[in-house]
């Protein structure tokens, strides 16, 4: 059997992961020297208020090589194969940890590790796609890996954030290139492009920012999968999902977890999609 594994930056809703049998390996969130596991002992409900009130921003770190070995080994011992689908290696060391873990295990031919070049539900949607693919047909690890890798080029992620502060302080976006002042209210629109986060627009009003996301989804249509993500404003995510619902695609609403939330900040709204 092929087993799908992803990491907690995928922001995959738990019900979906459970239903599709996807294992989610947590990254770590650090407040000073306190370390929490994303989605295991720290959740959005406690995380966002703390993010807003904490003077020191949290840090994040990838799962250790040992964490990966602990997840991989029982499946391998059981004779299973693994497709491990992860956040862009340009944004996180998670892919590297996974690769190192693989190299320290015996049956390395049974593990395929995929760098999605994406983030959040971009990773989540690819994982969903992968889980459905292996469920639908009997397919070899190599063939499945190829099909999943091909879908990376059709995956896009856009986000509207209230401030670049969290991304800049966290070092996930270049400081010089992305010009957003502090003197005037301006909201950046970001996109994951070739594995890094770039700014593709800036809007003053929140409504226009949301309209940008809506337009981006429409520009990539027809869609195979669509997800609407939010950090603290579920109502807005619902409204946008209703607008983008069609007979072919029902948007998956997901909340940005603590690791992604560390960079997106409160009131972020985002979309991820795989075009058909």
């Amino acid at each position: 059997m092929i087993k799908i594994i992803t990491d907690s930056t995928s922001d995959l809703p738990k019900e979906i992961a459970d239903e599709l049998g996807i294992t989610v390996i947590p990254l770590n969130v650090h407040f000073g020297e306190e370390v929490y596991k994303d989605g295991v002992d720290i959740f959005p409900d406690k995380f966002y208020p703390r993010l807003e009130n904490s003077s020191e921003l949290p840090k994040t770190s990838q799962p250790s090589i040992g964490d990966f070995i602990n997840i991989y080994k029982p499946y391998l011992d059981n004779g299973d194969q693994i497709i491990s689908i992860h956040v862009s290696s340009k944004l996180s060391g998670t892919f590297n940890s996974a690769t190192q873990a693989k190299s320290q295990l015996d049956n390395t031919n049974s593990i395929s590790i995929i760098d999605t070049n994406s983030v959040s539900m971009g990773v989540g949607l690819i994982s969903i796609y992968a889980a459905k693919l292996i469920k639908e047909k009997d397919i070899s690890l190599a063939d499945a890996t190829k099909i999943i890798t091909d879908v990376i080029n059709k995956t896009e992620t856009f986000a509207l954030v209230e401030t670049l502060e969290f991304l800049q302080k966290g070092g996930r976006i270049s400081k010089t290139k992305e010009l957003i002042g502090n003197l005037l209210k301006v909201r950046p629109i970001l996109k994951s492009e070739n594995g890094i986060i770039v700014q593709v627009g800036r809007e003053r009003s929140r409504n226009k920012g949301i309209a940008y996301l809506e337009e981006a989804a429409k520009n990539s249509s027809p869609l195979k999968y669509l997800s609407i993500m939010y950090s603290t404003t579920p109502e807005e995510a619902q409204v946008l999902a209703d607008k983008l619902r069609s007979k072919d695609v029902i948007p998956i609403i997901a909340q940005l977890g603590p690791v992604i939330g560390t960079y997106a900040g409160p009131q972020a709204l985002a979309i991820a999609l795989i075009s058909d």
Partner: protein, 545 residues
């Protein structure tokens, strides 16, 4: 019988407890310098946590052997390596875990060990660490582990007295740490040495101090004095002969960046004013670009270096503009944005969005001054936002095909234009995007007249309020509400959801409050932002988009 040197060396006997003690020292010093390490972190991701990650990793290692009395080097190194593997945080932590793996595999099934095994452990660590990274990069922690292993091996094989091996090794390592910026450009640009490299040096220093039998608390490591390196060599400037006599009053046109954590732009300007004229200082509190004319560039730059690291210096003799006397890492930008806006606040807004702004109120720029700064700049294309400034028809800027002048009527239009500039797009696409963006907003100028006068052929009495929209007087009244009512009779506000009010110094607060209250009632679902423009005028702008 006399012992050979080799036997002598191996008569030094280490065991499991030695390992614990060595890394207790390392961990202590690492904790001491954790904040410094974090502050240097620019590679691979400048997220300021290299120190913390290394510390958390080594603390996990120490926790795993906290109450272990075993003397077995094999047992202790195995526990340490496993703990490091499980507890590794971040890239530097992952690499550090492989450092411990070097000890684990070398000391397997050994209770005691000597320098030979210690050095083999370092050599193995090099191999594991390089393998642990997708694309090994020199100038990082990896380089340092490598230098440490090679240096120790060379000293040992040469027959160096054992108690001196770590001493000399650490000296070599320190030299390499200070050289990390030479191999890694991002360090050079940021003007720092590599954080992970320094972290590993601290760990090795801990080992050295323990092996020298010195006390933990009363001894300090040999900490490098100068962590910031200077990205340009100032002595270059002094050796170049500048023919000052031949220069006109401007002398040289000098441009450079100052990089620091916290720069007060006004303070820097004041300092530079002592050495030159026509100063344009733009940027944030961490990076300022200076453009200045001076006859004494070397003194000027030396003085500016008090405020931070100096980078990307260009000095041009203005009579021979193409003769670059000093130039490091210049990539002439494809497009430069210029704007004209009065007052400090608006000046800062435009500079935050990447423009070089002419603060016509404070800097007293006239058309000639503006022309000369623009023409002396190094660019392929320039965009100039006029924001209401009247350029005379015979301006040399108009006839220059590489200078694109956008006739924005006021600062509100200018700000909208600059927000729609995208460096990824070509100049023509940008010009068209910017033009359509500022034409789509509604910006209205509101005044309260202080005298009896005439505006666009309409009689205005003292204390009348009047509104100008699209270069026409739209309404006037001595009651502000009635004036606003009349104004909005014929302006379509459907789909508008963001209002910005810019207020000058000479507009009263009561006018500002009447307008903002009126606008909130008019468009209850729109967001409203009020900018205290700090410019000397009684003009208030309502910008609706």
């Amino acid at each position: 019988m006399r012992k050979t040197i080799k036997q002598m060396k191996n008569s030094v006997s280490f065991n499991g407890q030695t390992l614990i003690n060595m890394f207790t020292y390392s961990s202590y010093y690492l904790e001491k310098y954790v904040a410094t390490l974090n502050s240097l972190n620019v590679f691979p991701v400048p997220d300021g946590d290299t120190g913390t990650n290394m510390l958390i990793t080594i603390k996990e290692v120490m926790k795993s052997i906290e109450n272990e009395n075993s003397c077995s080097a094999s047992y202790i190194s195995n526990k340490m390596s496993e703990a490091a593997l499980m507890g590794a945080k971040g890239n530097s932590g992952v690499i550090l875990s492989q450092f411990f793996k070097g000890f684990e595999t070398t000391l397997k099934s050994k209770t005691n060990f000597g320098y030979e095994e210690f050095i083999i452990s370092l050599e193995r660590a090099v191999q594991y660490c390089y393998k642990a990274v997708g694309t090994p990069t020199e100038g990082t922690i990896l380089t340092i582990i490598n230098v440490a292993a090679r240096s120790a091996r060379k000293l040992y094989d040469k027959g160096t007295s054992p108690d001196q091996i770590m001493n000399y090794t650490c000296k070599d390592v320190k030299t390499s740490v200070l050289k990390t910026p030479e191999s890694l450009e991002v360090l050079q640009n940021a003007g720092v040495i590599d954080s992970g490299a320094l972290g590993l040096y601290i760990i090795l220093e801990g080992i050295r101090i323990y092996l020298e039998g010195k006390s933990l608390y009363s001894t300090n490591i040999d900490f490098p004095e100068n962590l910031n390196i200077n990205p340009i060599n100032l002595s270059n400037l002094e050796t170049k002969k500048l023919s000052q006599e031949d220069d006109d009053i401007f002398g040289n046109c000098i441009q450079f960046f100052i990089l620091s954590n916290n720069i007060n732009i006004d303070e820097v300007k004041k300092e530079i004013e002592k050495f030159g004229s026509s100063i344009v200082a733009v940027g944030s509190n961490s990076k300022i670009k200076i453009h200045v004319h001076s006859q004494i560039p070397d003194k000027l730059i030396k003085s500016a270096s008090k405020y931070g690291e100096i980078a990307e210096v260009t000095i041009e003799n203005m009579d021979e503009q193409h003769n670059k006397i000093v130039s490091t890492q210049i990539t002439p930008p494809q497009t430069i944005l210029f704007s004209i806006a009065p007052g400090k606040k608006l000046n800062n807004i435009f500079t935050e969005f990447g423009a070089i702004n002419f603060n016509i109120e404070e800097e007293k720029y006239d058309q000639k001054g503006i022309e000369s700064v623009i023409l002396q700049s190094n660019f392929k294309n320039a965009i100039l936002l006029l924001n209401g400034f009247m350029l005379k028809d015979d301006s040399i800027l108009i006839s220059n095909e590489f200078i694109h002048i956008l006739n924005t009527n006021n600062i509100a239009e200018g700000i909208t234009a600059i927000l729609n500039y995208n460096p990824e797009l070509n100049i023509h696409k940008n010009i068209s995007n910017m033009k359509s963006s500022y034409s789509s907003i509604t910006s209205i100028e509101i005044y309260k007249s202080t005298i009896n006068t005439e505006v666009y052929n309409n009689k205005i009495c003292q204390n009348d309020y009047y509104a100008i929209y699209n270069n026409k007087l739209i309404s006037k009244n001595n009651n502000i509400i009635m004036m606003l009512n009349e104004l909005f009779e014929n302006i379509d506000l459907s789909d508008k959801d963001f209002i910005t009010i810019y207020k000058g110094n000479n507009t009263s607060n009561s006018v500002k409050e009447s307008v903002s209250k009126y606008m909130t009632n008019k468009l209850p679902n729109a967001e409203l932002e009020i900018i205290e423009g700090e410019y000397n005028s009684n003009m208030l702008i309502i910008s609706i988009e």
